[in-house]
């Protein structure tokens, strides 16, 4: 069967966009030219590299050729420009058939070597124990390694008595799904130092130690779960270099220069030329040995603690819980009747460990709002956040006669010290929302459709939102995009009212250049004013495997790169082997809700295409909806029907219904998306067996 499918796909020869699965090497030393090889699919002739890496990418002829290798890799001679700095850079490829995903490439300041075991053709598990540990050259050095499944990699180093050395693993920060743990062992295997989730390093690890005596030591790198990941690379860096475990403040105002304490050193964050779409930049420490540190960028006026006088709104307060149990407090001038939002930024920035609790009180001490000590919102649909949001926010309506409020900030578990900084944003408006697109990029097939799922975080705003495409090129049409009104997302509530799907459809034969599409959500406030928010892009998306055969209960957050500040990169690609259509056939009013019958219809471009027996349907954002009785038409395999039932718990609103189907074998093939249709769900009032005809 699998053979038949391959034959079919080859025979049909539909154009496919490029995909990058791996880069070799994963990084390079600053200032040196190098050869970069991309591995993946559809990387053949005409592949152009798009990157912010200041360098020229000259295509090289493939070393090996053959039908099985065609399009599987592409090599480039990379000549960095002098302006190249230590950092992480996105690599994307564009071909005539579309754009690829992004892989991250790292530029460091140390000489680079490869882990022997990760070289092509090498035996597995070469350096899993002390006996087989790979000897490293004198520091500084960066080792590019790979963890293949549940293994540990060991490296042998020699050190002198009293020598101080830093060991650091770059993985999550550079797009790898590894959650690294680093251990330093003596010759007997006794552990001298260990690190996991080091300060300022996301989930990455770093230890610094002074060796007690001269001799051999061993550095072990492993995954915190011994999990098996597709993106399983890491970079082990060792040398004697300075680093910071805290920065303060955690961000600054756009257009300003900000002095930042990075550990014991001071650096200047130059935010004068940061584009409005960036909410984050990076700080390079002077010696450039460490990767740049994330630094938030805001638009409010900023103050830094201590702030004894009452603050005027809007403002961003930079503070820090300096010791365990400390509670910071700020006063704000407010107006009776106005709505305010106090929003914390700490854990989500990646530069703070603070799990904040914020409490808003009036001058008498009456609590007006509090957040952070209750379960934070979870959102099943939110790819970016993967269930749990990080930082709390409070929306309050200022009562009559209240002209000053006090806002206290503390750590949920009463911790504090280095690494417990925060940014407290205070501003007008008790109703807001944030939108995130859950796909990092799109290749839109000619004559076909693609779905852009968008997740919404509500900050006091409970109304409808309609998504729209702001800069649609000619020939591209946006439909659907309704996010129905909903209650706030509560603990463990898989709130369906926080998701919308915008369907983009390309006209047959339409062609447009690769560009960034902008999606906005429009809501309406009770006073009739519109509230418009741009949907944020993911930049990239790397899935992290969680479930294991051992009965794992963890799922891990996917890796994204919102710091790239990309909206929705999109390109036109060739048509898919078939298109899909959905129609409403009938509606029956039942005592508990509606029973709506739909029909799907495939439109294959070739009669030989093997079509799936069923499709997946969604009434976007509708709660308590069941999909039943899906069946293919026995006489016409291109079509079939399914029923959707609603209940009294389904909120009356206008919903988008669309279907998706997968052509090919399980887990392979192409996903095809239909255009949406609009379905109105009305309030269930009484038994009404009225039938309505379909549209």
């Amino acid at each position: 069967m699998r053979f038949a499918l391959l034959t079919f796909i080859a025979g049909m020869a539909f154009a496919a966009p490029p995909v990058i699965n791996d880069l070799q090497p994963r990084g390079a030393q600053k200032g040196r030219p190098f050869v970069l090889t991309l591995f993946g699919r559809e990387l053949g002739d005409g592949a152009k590299v798009h990157s912010t890496l200041p360098a020229t990418f000259t295509p090289m002829a493939p070393e090996k050729t053959g039908p099985m290798l065609e399009g599987r890799y592409a090599s480039f001679l990379v000549e960095p420009k002098e302006s190249l700095e230590t950092g992480i850079y996105p690599i994307r490829v564009e071909t005539p058939d579309g754009i690829s995903n992004i892989q991250l490439f790292t530029v460091g300041s140390f000489p680079e070597i490869a882990e022997e075991e990760s070289r092509p053709g090498s035996l597995a598990n070469l350096n899993d124990g002390i006996e087989g540990a790979q000897a490293l050259p004198s520091p500084p050095v960066t080792v590019n390694g790979v963890l293949r499944g549940p293994e540990r990699d060991l490296f042998r180093i020699s050190a002198k008595a009293g020598e101080k050395r830093v060991f650091e693993v770059e993985a999550r920060r550079i797009g790898s799904a590894i959650d690294p743990v680093i251990r330093v062992l003596d010759q007997s295997g006794k552990m001298l130092a260990r690190s996991e989730d080091a300060a300022l390093l996301s989930l990455d690890a770093r230890v610094e130690l002074t060796f007690p005596r001269e001799g051999y030591y061993y550095v072990e790198v492993r995954d915190a779960r011994f999990s098996t990941q597709s993106a399983s690379y890491y970079r082990l860096k060792t040398g004697a270099y300075s680093w910071a475990d805290e920065i303060f403040p955690l961000g600054g105002q756009r257009g300003q220069q900000v002095e930042v304490a990075a550990g014991a050193r001071k650096v200047t964050a130059d935010l004068r030329h940061i584009d409005a779409k960036f909410r984050q930049t990076f700080l390079n420490l002077p010696d450039g040995a460490t990767l740049p540190i994330p630094f938030a960028v805001g638009d409010n006026p900023e103050v830094t603690e201590p702030a004894t006088a009452a603050l005027a709104l809007p403002v961003t307060v930079n503070g820090r819980i300096a010791k365990a149990g400390e509670i910071d407090e700020y006063s704000f001038d407010v107006k009776p009747g106005e709505g305010l939002t106090f929003r914390m930024e700490a854990r989500e920035l990646g530069t703070s460990k603070l799990m904040a609790v914020i409490t808003v009180r009036d001058a008498k001490g009456t609590v007006l709002g509090r957040s952070g000590d209750e379960p934070l919102p979870e959102d099943f649909f939110n790819v970016n956040q993967s269930r749990t949001a990080g930082d709390p926010s409070v929306q309050v309506e200022i009562p009559r006669d209240v002209r000053t409020v006090k806002v206290s900030v503390e750590d949920l578990a009463l911790r504090g010290g280095a690494g417990y900084g925060y940014r407290l944003h205070a501003g007008a408006g008790a109703q807001d929302f944030r939108l995130t697109m859950n796909v990092p990029y799109l290749n839109i097939p000619a004559g076909g459709s693609v779905a852009v799922p968008v997740t919404m975080e509500r900050f006091g705003y409970q109304g409808d939102v309609h998504l729209r495409l702001v800069n649609a090129p000619k020939g591209l049409k946006a439909e659907g995009g309704y996010i129905v009104a909903g209650a706030p997302v509560k603990a463990n509530a898989r709130n369906p009212n926080s998701r919308g799907v915008l369907i983009l459809s390309s006209e047959e034969g339409a062609s447009f250049n690769a560009s960034e599409l902008r999606v906005e959500g429009v809501g309406k406030l009770p006073n009739g004013e519109e509230i418009v928010r741009a949907a944020r892009g993911l930049g990239m998306l790397v899935n992290v495997a969680g479930a294991t055969q051992q009965g794992s209960v963890d799922r891990q957050r996917p890796i994204t790169a919102p710091w790239l500040a990309l909206d929705l990169p999109a390109a036109a690609t060739g048509p898919k082997p078939a298109t899909l259509e959905v129609q409403m056939v009938s509606r029956r009013r039942m005592e508990e809700g509606d029973e709506i019958k739909f029909r799907w219809k495939w439109h294959p471009r070739d009669a030989s295409i093997r079509l799936p027996k069923t499709v997946v349907a969604e009434m976007v954002g509708a709660g308590d909806v069941r999909l039943i009785d899906a069946q293919q038409d026995p006489k016409d395999r291109t079509t079939g029907t399914f029923l959707m039932t609603t209940t009294k718990l389904t909120r009356p609103a206008k919903y988008d219904v669309y279907v998706t189907g997968r052509l090919g074998m399980e887990g392979e093939g192409e996903e095809v998306v239909s255009r949406p249709i609009s379905v109105e769900v009305e309030e269930v009032k009484a038994l009404n067996a009225e039938n309505t005809s379909g549209r």
């Binding site: 549940p150 006794k190 996991e196 460990k353 609790v357």
Partner: protein
């Protein structure tokens, strides 16, 4: 359970006209003795036939109100007490599901009759409550089985009045086949040994130790070398009960035993040879080996399994990342020989992300205040509080109020999802955290189980568990050091001085109190240094005693006069198979060469060899979850299972290496014995081994020999 009347002494409870009859002093004991408050009757959780009394009368106020107000008070006919339901039912003048409880002409009847006639007075708890129970004799020693003794029980009330309650008290033996309790003959010695009598009356307890000596003539204590205070205490008890200890085991047996006990691993053939050939005096040589084993990485592996069990380290509760982090915390604690009081303090006071502070995983397992308290008291104090959740503990002093007071120390502990997926934050809630009593919903403030000799203030806010840690993990706590000393002891002898080790109570006294006190003092004197405690134990002659017995100690199972064989634990057995067969362990989803004792939790290799041999799922903190039995599936697994058969036939295994290396038959036999049994074969074993090897294909027969050794008791047991 035997409940008997001990002596036909005159019942002072038969109320005289001069003494006012009260519920507290007179009626409640009747209800208990007549069985009305027992579990199968009205003491059941939901009562019986609509009438509920507290279990074994632990709550007299509740029982009194039940009698008074249930059925709208129709249980009494104060004008004609004899027509009261409360008398008509137990005497079966009207139908009674519980049958006849006492006769109409009995003393019990009269007590209740007089009480009703007097207007059903409750009594004054300040006067009518039993303050103390006095028993006589304090100790029973019988020179031989077959002898009898009687017991007298005196209740002393709060007003100073004493009453002989022998007839109404309940006396039970914890070992009836040693000391039986009988209504007619009192306490009877059944066989040589020791037992404890538990005497109960109106919520008060007392115990009487019973010793029945070996009647055999000719016992003459032969002093053996005493290595340290342990041997002094053990010998003192042995001498008293006429038991002669076995001498120390030989070097090979010692090495195997101490290696398995301290590190969970078998010594390698090279280590066995080196130890046997070492001519250093035995005690010094053994002491050095003990130090070496304690300093080895395998020591960390082995004790991490034990603490992983007790702390229930499992990804079921902690997730993948959490379980590795918690295991690493446990391993680091053991490797650094973290003082035990500090370890417990870290667990109880941990806050923040369980990823950053893995000790906080302690709270992720049980999650709620009550099970956390039950786990805390059971693991760290050896006290089981679970019974007291619904009623006062039936065999111990712990009350239901104390259950909730202790739980209140954890009532503020909150758990909330953190930022990373699977991460949880452990914190102290700022509101709505008070513990509520199930009876009336009233707030229960935290209170220690026992007052400490060194008072610990309890804060009035949510940060109360810090105070609990101060109280619990202190030298002054009468349970804390004793519980861990006893538990550690049990790991080396297969039995605690108090056994089960996590059920310390008055009715379960130590077999050698002086020994337990000495161990406890040694531990606190050395600031809870568990390595010191272990080192002291395994250096003792008592630990090093041979398994062989003599005519005086063959029947002894509680006084540590000889070694008692123990089946290897699942992890010990798995690692022993791997080591003996010379193969590399290979569990799924962990790096190759990860041994069974290094696995993070029971989810690795689930439902395989380890589970068959009793690896606990870590669903509870009870030592009893780890099975040490021997079952048919285990036997079948050993005989037919892939684990053993694959190991002996491994192409890179010991047999293959010996054969390919050109080892002689003698060499093969010696090596296989050394690898599996940690000793050389004796002459007969060697001869049979050589004969077998020469009888067919050498490699196959060498595999057979190894297979047979792995299936022998000498391999499967620690002795």
């Amino acid at each position: 359970m035997l409940r008997i009347l001990l002596a036909a002494s005159v019942c002072a409870a038969a109320a005289s006209a001069a003494e006012p009859v009260t519920f507290l002093r007179d009626v409640a004991p009747v209800l208990n003795k007549a069985g009305c408050t027992s579990g199968p009757c009205h003491g059941a959780a939901k009562g019986k036939n609509g009438f509920k009394l507290s279990l074994r009368g632990y709550d007299p106020q509740f029982d009194y109100e039940a009698l008074l107000y249930d059925l709208s008070g129709r249980r009494f006919n104060r004008a004609d007490p004899g027509r009261s339901l409360m008398l008509a039912k137990p005497t079966q003048q009207v139908a009674h599901g519980g049958g006849l409880r006492f006769e109409a002409d009995s003393d019990y009847y009269k007590v209740i009759f007089n009480w009703i006639a007097a207007g059903v007075p409750y009594g004054d708890p300040a006067r009518d409550t039993v303050a103390e129970l006095q028993v006589e004799p304090k100790e029973i020693n019988m020179p031989k089985p077959g002898e009898s003794a009687s017991v007298k029980v005196i209740a002393k009330y709060k007003d100073g009045v004493t009453r002989d309650v022998t007839r109404d008290a309940t006396v039970e033996s914890n070992t009836p086949d040693v000391a039986a309790v009988d209504a007619k003959s009192g306490v009877k010695g059944e066989r040589t040994g020791e037992a404890t009598l538990l005497v109960r009356y109106q919520g008060k307890f007392s115990t009487i130790p019973v010793t029945i000596l070996n009647p055999k003539e000719g016992f003459a204590w032969k002093a053996l070398p005493q290595h340290n205070y342990i041997d002094q205490k053990v010998d003192a008890k042995l001498q008293k009960v006429k038991i002669q200890a076995s001498p120390a085991a030989d070097d090979a047996t010692f090495l195997r035993r101490v290696s398995l006990d301290l590190t969970g691993r078998l010594p390698s053939p090279e280590e066995v040879r080196a130890f046997l050939n070492d001519r250093t005096p035995a005690r010094l040589k053994r002491a050095r080996m003990i130090d070496k084993l304690i300093a080895s990485p395998a020591y960390v592996d082995h004790w991490s399994v034990k603490w992983g069990d007790l702390l229930q380290s499992s990804r079921k509760y902690l997730g993948d990342k959490g379980v590795y982090a918690f295991q690493e915390w446990i391993r680091e604690s053991i490797a650094s020989n973290k003082p035990y009081d500090r370890l417990v303090r870290e667990l109880l006071t941990s806050r923040g992300s369980a990823y950053d502070d893995p000790a906080a995983n302690f709270f992720r397992v049980t999650r709620d205040a009550k099970p956390t308290m039950e786990k805390t008291t059971q693991v760290f104090l050896g006290v089981r509080m679970v019974c007291a959740q619904c009623h006062d503990h039936p065999f111990e002093r712990w009350t239901q109020n104390q259950y909730y007071q202790m739980s209140a120390f954890f009532s503020a502990v909150g758990l909330r999802a953190g930022y990373e997926v699977g991460e949880e934050i452990i914190f102290d809630q700022r509101a709505d955290y008070e513990m509520k009593h199930p009876k009336d919903g009233s707030v229960v403030k935290p209170e220690f189980l026992l007052a400490s000799t060194k008072p610990v203030p309890i804060p009035d806010d949510q940060r109360r568990r810090d105070a609990l840690a101060d109280w619990l993990a202190s030298k002054e706590n009468p349970f804390f050091a004793k519980a861990i000393a006893n538990r550690v002891w049990s790991y080396f002898f297969g039995k605690g001085i108090i056994d089960p080790v996590d059920d310390i109570r008055a009715s379960n006294p130590p077999s050698n109190p002086a020994l337990l006190d000495a161990l406890t003092k040694d531990l606190t004197d050395h600031n809870f240094d568990l390595q010191h405690l272990m080192r002291t134990i395994v250096n003792s002659r008592a630990y090093q005693a041979a398994i062989t017995t003599n005519e005086w100690n063959a029947g002894d199972g509680i006084n540590f006069s000889h070694a008692i064989p123990r089946r290897l634990t699942a992890e010990q057995l798995m690692d022993a198979v791997t080591a003996a067969a010379g193969v590399r362990p290979n569990f799924p989803e962990v790096p190759q060469d990860t041994g069974a004792a290094q696995l993070p939790d029971p989810h690795v290799g689930k439902e395989g060899f380890l589970d068959v041999f009793g690896r606990p799922l870590r669903e509870s903190a009870c030592e009893c979850e780890r099975r040490a039995d021997f079952s048919l599936p285990q036997a079948l697994n050993l005989v037919n299972g892939k684990t053993i058969s694959d190991a002996v036939a491994d192409p890179k295994g010991r047999v293959a290496r010996l054969v390919l290396g050109g080892a002689s038959d003698q060499n093969i036999v010696d090596e296989l014995y050394l690898a599996a049994l940690s000793r050389l074969p004796d002459k007969e074993e060697a001869g049979r081994g050589l004969k077998y090897l020469s009888g067919g294909p050498r490699a196959t027969r060498a595999q057979d020999l190894l297979w047979a050794l792995l299936n022998s008791k000498g391999f499967l047991y620690l002795y």
